[in-house]
């Protein structure tokens, strides 16, 4: 895998930036558009999603309220149900439509309790990476049934990307694979399953952790690289929403 020095990305080894770029190009997705817009918008929509869910649950308490919400928003009731079933994702702007028009409530309504920002962000990141996996990564490999992405999987993949020799892992599944790289990867796996201060030396427990780590990398490493590749400037993309420069 060729290091991609054209698209520097925080938190991503150059080789994994190359993985992300190759994936996008193989899927016919414009690289610049991806870095400028696509991932950012998905992430911002993802932040609204758990808040919209709160409103949907609020309306679900009474069927007549739910019907009224659909009527006021000129929505097919089935649309609300599809949002609730996660079969479709509402756009972020629907939050205010449901709140002000559908429920006719205030933002600080005492009866509506919203998620904390930390929870909303975790939820948004996980849903964004899942969407990337579903839409951008491409066909799954043989016999692949991806486990649901969770916080622990994301931590494993992030730890992998932070390892100083993570770039060699990207070479392992390219034409430039070198036998020594595989030994390096074995060491990295040992690092990923090591818990400082843990006193247990149960091989079965280590094997369980190892399989979890390998599955996390297999199913989510490329999607994670695309996620980070799509947020090249870190939080500055949020600041530009307010037309201010990061300092």
């Amino acid at each position: 895998m060729q290091p991609d020095e054209e698209y520097l990305t925080d938190g991503l080894p150059l080789e994994w930036a190359g993985v992300a770029r190759e994936t996008l190009e193989s899927r016919g997705i414009k690289v610049d558009l991806y870095r400028d817009k696509m991932v950012k918008e998905r992430l911002l929509d993802g932040m609204a999603r758990p808040n919209i869910d709160v409103l949907l649950k609020f309306s679900r308490r009474r069927p007549d309220v739910k019907r009224e919400v659909a009527k006021r928003l000129h929505l097919n009731p089935r649309t609300l149900e599809r949002w609730e079933e996660k079969a479709a994702s509402p756009h972020a702007r629907n939050f205010f439509g449901i709140l002000y028009v559908g429920l006719q409530r205030e933002l600080a309504d005492a009866g509506i309790v919203y998620p904390e920002s930390r929870s909303a962000i975790e939820d948004a990141v996980l849903s964004t990476v899942r969407m990337i996996r579903r839409k951008d990564v491409g066909p799954a490999g043989k016999d692949e049934s991806a486990p649901r992405l969770c916080r622990d999987s994301l931590q494993i993949v992030r730890s992998l990307m932070r390892h100083p020799r993570a770039g060699s892992v990207a070479r392992l599944f390219s034409d430039e694979a070198h036998p020594a790289d595989r030994l390096e990867f074995d060491k990295i796996l040992g690092h990923l399953i090591w818990v400082p201060g843990a006193h247990g030396h149960d091989p079965a427990e280590k094997l369980k952790r190892l399989k979890f780590a390998v599955a996390a990398i297999r199913h989510w490493a490329v999607a994670y690289s695309l996620f980070r590749f799509g947020l090249p400037d870190g939080m500055s993309f949020i600041l530009e929403v307010f037309d201010e420069d990061p300092t």
Partner: protein, 328 residues
């Protein structure tokens, strides 16, 4: 032409069960420590030092798979970044304080809570304030100023740490053998502290909300001998608040046990769930552990994802005229 994702899958599929077992075996060897490496710098793209992922940069090389240990660590945060990201999240997603109806609930998990008696009400120029005697020299320190707690624990990192000193002495973390540790995590006894109050005095139950992963509510059950009651209020709690107060409660002539129960919100009020749990006992004596088990069963059936419970035994001060002494 295969995509990178497919090629990665093919490569990892080349690891046989034996290959993985060999790596695991090596990692399980006594004294095994992976080769020290300097992890690459990885700023949080959301500017929050990865608090949403439950890891700070200092601790991100610690991999936690065990569900039991998923309590987020408290990173050292950059205030500006927090303010920005929090403000942005609030603006975009209309985040306000309150309860998160978790989207992906797992099994019910028990969390720690530290609860104690805020013993004294003092009348001052601004009205009545809650005050408590400190554990050591800092007598008469106002409770709300948290003088008898660590000064840097405004948002307590663990329930024990933020408790007043006299309570921390009762909540010293016990040592257990490695073999006990596994069994202990599954069925440890309900934590209990003893405090005192003068008969006739008003007091509050003060408790930490540090270990609560999401906003929720709190209720209190009281026991005097075999007689169990629920206090009628159900109050909101949130991790960001740090501490919560329940009361006022009037101290009687005999000792009473108060069980502070915290849990996340569901469609069923926590008070109803607690009432249901106690009614299943059919009256009579209930040990703290049985009470916890009854609560856990009722909470699980109501769809809760976490709860915390602690007992406070409040004993009447023997000398009703003297100032209350710290419980030891």
């Amino acid at each position: 032409m295969k995509t990178p994702h497919e090629r990665l899958g093919d490569f990892l599929a080349s690891y046989s069960e034996e290959d993985l077992a060999a790596i695991a075996q090596k990692a399980a060897e006594p004294g095994y420590v992976p080769e020290p490496v300097e992890l690459r710098d990885d700023p949080d793209p959301l500017g929050r030092d990865w608090d949403w992922l439950g890891a700070s940069d200092d601790q991100a090389d610690t991999i936690s798979i065990d569900e039991v240990n998923r309590t987020p660590t408290r990173p050292l945060l950059d205030g500006r970044r927090i303010a920005w990201a929090s403000g942005v999240a609030a603006s975009i997603a209309a985040v306000a304080a309150g309860t998160w109806f978790a989207l992906y609930r797992g099994p019910l998990r028990e969390r720690d809570v530290a609860a104690w008696v805020a013993q004294r009400l003092e009348i001052g120029g601004g009205g009545v304030r809650v005050a408590a005697p400190a554990g050591d020299e800092e007598v008469e320190s106002p409770l709300i100023a948290a003088i008898d707690r660590p000064r840097d624990a405004a948002a307590p990192s663990t329930p024990n740490v933020y408790a007043p000193l006299r309570i921390q002495e009762q909540l010293v973390v016990p040592e257990v053998t490695p073999s006990e540790a596994t069994a202990h995590s599954a069925s440890r006894p309900v934590r209990s502290i003893t405090d005192i109050a003068r008969p006739g005095d008003l007091f509050y139950l003060e408790f930490t909300t540090a270990s609560t992963p999401t906003p929720g509510t709190a209720v209190v059950a009281s026991a005097r001998g075999d007689s169990w009651h629920l206090l009628r209020d159900e109050i909101s709690v949130a991790p960001a608040e740090g501490t919560g107060y329940f009361g006022p409660i009037k101290m009687g002539d005999v000792e009473a046990s108060y069980f502070v129960v915290l849990a996340d919100r569901t469609g069923t009020p926590l008070l109803n769930t607690a009432s249901e749990a106690l009614s299943k006992n059919g009256g009579g004596a209930v040990s703290p552990d049985v009470f916890r088990d009854l609560m856990a069963a009722a909470l699980e059936s109501s769809g809760h994802s976490w709860f915390a419970v602690q007992r406070i035994e409040v004993k009447p001060a023997k000398d009703a005229g003297a100032a209350p002494k710290p419980a030891r």
